[in-house]
Symmetry: C2
């Protein structure tokens, strides 16, 4: 054990035994250096480690403070030496039903897939909508239909380039949100019956897409913090006829997992070696809480096996339905499939976003959005720790607005949903996130869909319900 | 032969032998009554008959005038007693290529699928876009996503009700244009390998949709003025395992054919008897030149076998990508497929159209649009008659903005396309409108994409090219 780890452990003991309590300030780095006769670097490392354990929180120019209690970290799943048998996907109509139920205005939408639209610069976007459409020459309404608005494609390419992705405007196909991009990419690289690697748990839309295209799913164990199990992926690629992968490398839905860069690099290498295309769903990449934007796997892809999909729906313009695919060698196939299936994304939405981006200020908006979401994550985790039963586990995502909760005891969160809606809260049942419904005791919660007060209120109601159902006392008792 | 037919034939002779020339006024009804000692009703009937033959044109409050010469009417196709063998569809990438090439701003876009956007109330729509989005509560951006904006669905249902379609707002699913609606409906009623009846020639998008879903096409003979051959359809339904039909009953793309109401009724009855669903593409229904809006087959469908698809792209808001499916018992299946494939149509587009419709004035816009398109049809037919080679046949659509031309001699219009683009005109080659490319000597022309002067100019250039290629002299020589 290094010196800084020892120091961190000491503080951890003080926190756990109540000597240091929530909100207490840790001694300053200067003071600790002087008392312990150690270097500032060692103290900083110890404090960083405590921060990464979720025990303390840095406040700019104020120091380190004991963080609000958080539920137990979600244990890593068992990584089976045999991946689960591949299966034909059959996803329940429940997804559509849950989405519909959760849309009721009076319900606190923790089951939603979107953040609160009030977090977005809608007024500014609306002005761009009006003025850009007034200036648009009428023939432009039908000219760029197939591939998308030319200037917008350039702007997206420039933003991707800033993230280290060498994608040309010509490679980009603008789509009706990322959902369509993902579907078109999957269609471009598969034939019915093909085997496709997914994460487990995975975003239900990927299960639906496989069902629609009559593909087989091979769902691999996925670590709640670091993403898909690399050994399992390597084994699957080596031993099974995998025709494609569909992964979220940054702030995975539903876990919120972020793959370390080394894993992203390793996956890019594996794909190239086995010549297997990856559909990379990167819709949450902009919503990072760390100091730097995490790079997608596409940034490590020298051999051109990654089809990268993104959108503006989660970070700027929900409901505008503007996404894109950067599909490399499959670009023309994706473009063709797009023309066949829906012709084009809406022109007004595209020109509005393009005009908005050209005005500047988008990155300022993103900084504020990230800060808000990070604060709300902490509010949510504190509320779960207070109101959910002992034994509850939760992830602590480093970005996005979705977290994953595993409940103790024998509970099926599908059965919980009607009661939760009755109590004015929606949630997304865990069973929707795998083809074999193995996550029935889990749920996905959106901490970006309502503000801090609503979040506390909603999680208190939900916690009471769960305690009632399980007969367990809340963690905080 | 009745008295009025005799009178009409007399005038026809005078027109054909040059006694009456293009633009000459026919004697007034009063004068003709007095000279011939016949009733005004008889004279009117004769003049109506001449009008329906395309020989004279009524000008409001001015009388009847000899119409511009028109090319020969397209002969009805041979109705084979055996329908052609069904086939797996493989449509050429040419469609995407042609669409791309034809999008160049300097080209007169007779190959386009859209009318000139300048014919639409874009300024008014743009104002609706800005103001409706300003008034929209933010949560609405994510609330109505799956099924579409609730008020717009109500407005569409009301418009359909006025046309005799009993469709509830709840049955309607708003889509990314009619293209997506058609694809989703086809998907809802078929499995890979199924046999689907199409028209021959048919809109290339239907061929692409079948290819995408791995369906078999049974293309039935289609009359250039009255649509699909009823006997062939009856025989196919009786003898083959037809799982669905995809038809355009009003102003068919590419022919411009309009089925008589009796045929629509008969088709509705046939479908009910054989329990076969029909996907009805009705995107041109609003663009009728006759006194009444033609009713779609869905209006005759008592047993619920018709999935009706429409959009605002051809009559109001190109590029906004707002269409709908009224899919009856398949509504929820279509909605589910929509959520899976692209989630939703763009909200700004939907609220803008809804706001525009609520203001009134849409029907006035449609009346003007129809009048313009009808005039441009006549300009196009006169220009074809003047510049295209003798032996050219063309349809004379009673609505929409697409007409179908069959060229004489041994010409493949795909080979003509690059030269036409060189000469600054696009066209849609006939080969794209069937799976077996049997219409290689035909082309589809859009008479709504440029104004009368551009239309004359474009068709003169095209006529010269074709005469050069075929070595035939123009009709007018």
């Amino acid at each position: 054990m290094t010196q800084y780890e020892r120091l961190a452990d000491e503080f951890q003991t003080l926190i756990h035994n109540g000597t240091l309590r929530v909100g207490d300030r840790l001694p300053s780095v200067r003071v600790t250096c002087a008392r312990r006769h150690i270097s500032p670097a060692t103290v900083f490392q110890a404090y960083y480690l405590l921060e990464s354990r979720g025990l303390v929180q840095a406040r700019p120019r104020s120091g380190y403070f004991v963080a609000a209690r958080r539920p137990e970290a979600l244990a890593a799943p068992e990584v089976s030496s045999e991946p689960p048998p591949s299966q034909s996907v059959a996803v329940n109509d429940l997804v559509v039903e849950v989405l519909k139920l959760s849309r009721r205005a009076e319900v606190l939408p923790l089951g939603s897939a979107f953040p609160d639209p009030a977090l977005f610069p809608l007024a500014k976007l609306g002005r761009s909508l009006g003025s850009a459409m007034r200036r648009l020459p009428p023939h432009k309404l039908v000219e760029d239909l197939a591939t998308g608005h030319a200037r917008l494609r350039q702007q997206v390419a420039q933003r991707l380039a800033a993230d280290g992705l060498a994608v040309s405007a010509d490679e980009l196909v603008v789509t009706n949100g990322a959902m369509e991009a993902l579907n078109l990419c999957l269609q471009a690289v598969t034939q019915p019956g093909d085997l496709v690697v997914l994460e487990s748990p995975t975003f239900y839309a990927s299960l639906q897409a496989l069902e629609r295209l009559q593909l087989q799913a091979l769902a691999l164990p996925t670590h709640p913090e670091h993403g898909i199990d690399l050994a399992a992926l390597a084994q699957a690629l080596a031993t099974q006829p995998v025709k494609a992968c569909w992964l979220m490398s940054s702030f995975q839905n539903p876990l919120g997992a972020l793959m370390p860069e080394a894993k992203k690099q390793a996956i890019a290498d594996l794909l190239a070696r086995h010549q297997v295309p990856l559909i990379e769903d990167d819709v949450y990449g902009e919503l990072y809480f760390g100091p730097h934007k995490p790079r997608p796997i596409k940034a490590f892809d020298r051999a051109g096996w990654v089809l990268h999909c993104g959108s503006f729906s989660k970070s700027l313009a929900p409901g505008y339905r503007v996404g894109w695919a950067a599909a490399g060698r499959w670009s023309r196939a994706v473009e063709r499939a797009k023309v066949m299936s829906s012709l084009s994304a809406a022109v007004p939405s595209q020109v509005a976003i393009s005009d908005y981006l050209a005005q500047g200020g988008h990155d300022l908006h993103l900084r504020r959005l990230r800060q808000t979401l990070q604060q709300q994550r902490d509010v949510a985790l504190a509320a779960i720790a207070e109101h959910f039963p002992a034994g509850t586990q939760a992830t602590r995502p480093e970005g996005g607005y979705l977290l994953w909760v595993a409940l103790p005891g024998d509970i099926d969160t599908r059965a919980l949903l009607p009661q939760a809606l009755e109590a004015g809260v929606s949630l997304m049942p865990g069973a929707l996130f795998s083809a074999d419904q193995r996550f029935a005791h889990c749920l996905r919660l959106n901490y970006g869909a309502v503000g801090p007060d609503g979040l506390r209120d909603a999680l208190a109601r939900l916690g009471r319900l769960i305690c009632d159902r399980t007969g367990l006392a809340p963690l905080s008792r």
